[in-house]
Each structure stands twice: as C-alpha cells, then as structure tokens.
Amino acid sequence: MLTEEFKSALTRSFPSVTIDEKGQYPVLRIDFTYGHDLLDFLKKETVPHFQKLECISGVDWIDHLEVVYHLDSPDINETIVVKVIITNRESPVTYSVTDLWKGAELLECEVYDFFGVRFLNHPYLRRLFLTEDWVGFPLRKDYVDEINMIKL
C-alpha cells in the first residue's frame, strides 16, 4: 500500500494524477502528455524506486485507449500500475520509455502493432508481428476481418 508521504510527493509533482487504491495494486491514471515524466519520476525520484518494468499492455476502452505499465519495486517487493490515457483514437500517440528501460523497445512495438499507438522518441517503431502492409490494428475492439476472424 502507498504511504501518505509517497502520495503527497506524487500529487505535488503531478497535480493531474489520480490514485486508485481499491484494486489489487495501486493504480495511477494520467494523461499521455505527463506519462513519461511520471514513469521517470517513479523510477528515479520516489522512495521506494520502481525500477523494474514488468510489462506494457494496450487496452481499448472504445472511447479512449490506455497503455498500462506494471512496475515493480525490488526494494519493498510491491507493484504499482500506471495507466496512460490517450483520448485521440484516430492518431494515438504517447512518449516512449525506451530511454528508461531498454526492454521497452520490443514491448512498445507490440502495442503499436496491435493498437496503433505511436510512441514518440522510439528508436525504431515498426510492425513486430504483422506485416508492414497490414491494414488496421487487430486488438482494438472495432477491428473486423471477415475472412480470418472466427466468431464463436
């Protein structure tokens, strides 16, 4: 669980962040413009540091897209979830965290491939699993493919 000290440090630096502690892990929600800065802050400045990036997942909530970062702190063995919210579905962008974690490079390519979120400052953003000429982003909820998709 998060301490009051931690939460006040967080809201002082990022007034727009919302903290949700009802679920399994604490969840921080923030607009994409501050996403990179918040992750940078959590990795380097806060006590404890959240140095380990577990995974990056994309989620399509129909009215907006979300990029979810699971961070781990080996110091206190706690997990925190950061959700970066992107409201522009037509050309979604957010900032890449490849400068913070090298492993983010392939993870971000995967999110781009399936959700179409472009990561700014990414060294080589590309279709990772699908071919370069693939139309659409398959893991979005509105994706339709009459031929290849089997509906159960």
């Binding site: 380990k52 989620v59 090298k102 492993g103 398959p138």
Partner: protein, 372 residues
C-alpha cells in the same frame, strides 16, 4: 522491410538466420548485419507463428482460454496453466484444496526438470555434441510418460483448472515419481561429466555473451537468464504461490552473466527441483482434488495481475474483467521469452557470428512463447 539487399552501401553484409533454422529452435527470423565476422546489429523479425491468443481469448470462457496457454511455452505447459488458474482463483477468492496444491507443485517442478533437460540436450546438439541429445531425451521421456499417465497428454496438458486439478492423480503416481528421482539423481552427474567440464564446450561458453546485472534489469530479463547475472528474481521466492512459501529450496544466483553461468544456473536448478519434489512426494494428503467453482466463471469487475515462475522466467497474466460477461474484456500475457529475446542484440553485438548459436542456446528461447 528495410535493406533487402544482401550488401549495404557501406559494405556490411546482411545475413538472414531462419525462419527455418535448427538453432533458432522454432520459426524465428533474425536479420543480422555483419562486418566481416563481427555482428553489428541484430533485428528479430517475429510473427511467423503468431496466433493472436490474446484476441482469441477475448471470445473464450475462462475454462476454455486456460487451454491456450499450454500452446504458448509448450515446455512449461503445467506452469502456464497454473498462472491463469491462480489469477482466477485469487480473483474469486477460492481456496484450493491441499491435495491439489501439492500435486500442482510437484508437477510444476517435474515440468521444470523436463524443460531443462530438453534445453540441456539441445544446447549440446547446437554446439556439436550429439550424445547429450539422446541422454537428455532419455530422462525427459520418463517425465512425459508420467504426465501422460496423469492427464493423457505429453505436451499440452490442460490438467490444471481454476479450483484445483481436472482429475485425481492415478494410483502409483508417487512410486513412479520416486523411481524417476532415484534414477535421475544418478544421471545428473553424467551431465557434468559429458558437457560441463568439456574443454570445447568451455571454450565456446565461458566469457561469451555477457549480460550485466543492470542490463538484465533494464531489459526485464527473468528466470535463469537474469539469475546468471546476479539479479534475484525468482517468483517462487518474491511472490510465492502454491506451496512454495513453506518449502525449503535456494534461489540459484551467479554473477558472471556469461553463457556458462546461464548453463550452470539451470544445472543447479535441477538439483533444487529434485529437492522440492522430495519434500512433497511422500506426503500427498488425501481429500478433494478440486474446489467447487461454477461451470461458467464470471470474474468480478476489475483487473488482476499474477505471476508464476516457468522454466524460462516470469510469466505474468493480466486479466481485465467487465464483471458482466463470462469472457475477459482483455487478457495480456507477459511471456518470459519475449523479454529475454530483447537482450539478444545486446549480448551478441560486437561478438563473433560463431558465438550466436551458443548465445541463443543459453537464452533457451521457445518461439511460440514469443509469438503468442
């Protein structure tokens, strides 16, 4: 795809390894830029066997989608199944019977042994030693036969369901496992005799493909790969599940971070797995093998993230449920192979092309785990 020519303007040679290549252990494609024999960069080209398990799972019920995970890292099928079952159980707050937990832990460790044996066999073969391949499969065959007796399947088990086990274990399970352990403990020193101290093997592994602890953390490496670099990350210790919190075993840590350290970690892990199984196999309690869970499972609204330690590292399951339907709204798997693969370019760049096979063997990639 950029640079389709084999020779670039500046004179580097582009070499394609795979998708059909015995050393990639599956359908993976590497585009390697070479300057003479020195690797300048490596780009993995993925997706040849991508089945989009995550998308498929969105239209499957929880009891159905658990079976998909056997097809990801097929050498850790039991452990993958446990990962999803664990997420569902913790979300529903189901208490799993003791008998099921004991059997699950034994099967998970047998899976780890079988996986490490296959890795050992294939590592030998990759580096030109054919005998290990036969010896590794000799022992693995016994474990897969035990699995077949337990659940009728040798590779894609689907034996672990939310709430416990699908069926009770067969009679004579403990005797068979005990007999295997006695045999295998005699065989394990042979592994060392054959390969571990072999001069050619040492020359090809010691000091090759060094990964520092900082890099291992930065790349999100896990499993034997990270532990060979001194990064403590064993999920069984950090986030205990099943019975691991009450068992005695050590997390194997080495600090050299080269191919040989990764080899050593896996060999030593096999001894720890034997140790775990021995603590449980003669004390399988009587009782129920499955808790009562509804046929159609609906998770409460919210999100759940759980992790387990497969033979390759940390396997995470992230489920988002809308609380209304019997399918997940979104499911995401954090597969260990994908993060370990990310470190490949750092390991091999600047090295010799001949070392690439040794490095790939030491990462222990399973391609369906990467191409989910």
């Amino acid at each position: 795809m950029p640079e389709l020519e084999t020779i670039t303007e500046t004179g580097e040679y582009i070499l394609n390894v795979g998708p059909q290549h015995p050393a990639t252990h599956g359908v993976m494609h590497l585009r390697i830029k070479l300057d003479g024999e020195i690797i300048e960069s490596i780009e993995p080209v993925l997706g040849y066997i991508h089945r989009s398990i995550e998308k498929m799972s969105e239209s499957l019920t929880y009891r159905q989608l658990i079976q998909m995970t056997s097809r990801m890292d097929y050498l850790s099928a039991h452990i993958n199944n446990t990962g999803v079952a664990l997420t569902i159980e913790r979300a529903l707050q189901v208490e799993v019977p003791q008998r099921a937990l004991v059997v699950r832990t034994i099967l998970a460790e047998l899976t780890r042994l079988a996986s490490h044996q296959l890795w050992w066999a294939a590592t030998g073969l990759d580096l030109g030693a054919v005998t290990p391949f036969f010896l590794g499969f000799r022992d693995r065959e016994v474990i897969t036969t035990i699995f077949e007796e337990v659940c009728g399947s040798r590779l894609t088990m689907n034996y672990i369901v939310p709430g416990g086990l699908m069926e009770d274990i067969p009679n004579g399970f403990a005797e068979r496992v005990n007999k295997f352990l006695i045999d295998f403990e005699h065989h394990l020193p042979e592994y060392d005799q054959l390969l571990s101290d072999n001069e050619i093997f040492l020359a090809r592994n010691v000091g090759i493909g060094i990964l520092s602890k900082e890099e291992a953390l930065s790349f999100g490496c896990s499993g034997p790969m990270a532990r060979a670099s001194g990064l403590s990350c064993d999920v069984r210790k950090w986030h205990p599940y099943d019975l691991y919190s009450s068992l005695e075993f050590n997390e194997v840590l080495l600090t050299q971070g080269d191919c040989y350290a990764r080899y050593k970690v896996r060999i030593r892990e096999m001894y720890q797995s034997i140790r775990i199984i021995k603590q449980l196999i003669n004390q399988i309690p009587e009782g129920e093998y499955q808790a009562k869970v509804k046929k159609i499972i609906k998770l409460p609204e919210g999100e759940y993230y759980e992790r387990v330690e497969t033979a390759r590292g940390e396997f995470g399951v992230y489920i988002i449920s809308d609380g209304k339907s019997s399918n997940p709204y979104r499911i995401k798997y954090r597969s260990p192979g994908f993060s370990n693969l990310a470190s490949l370019s750092a390991l091999a760049t600047g090295g010799n092309i001949g070392d690439l096979v040794a490095i790939m063997a030491s990462i222990d990639l399973v391609i369906p785990d990467i191409d989910r």
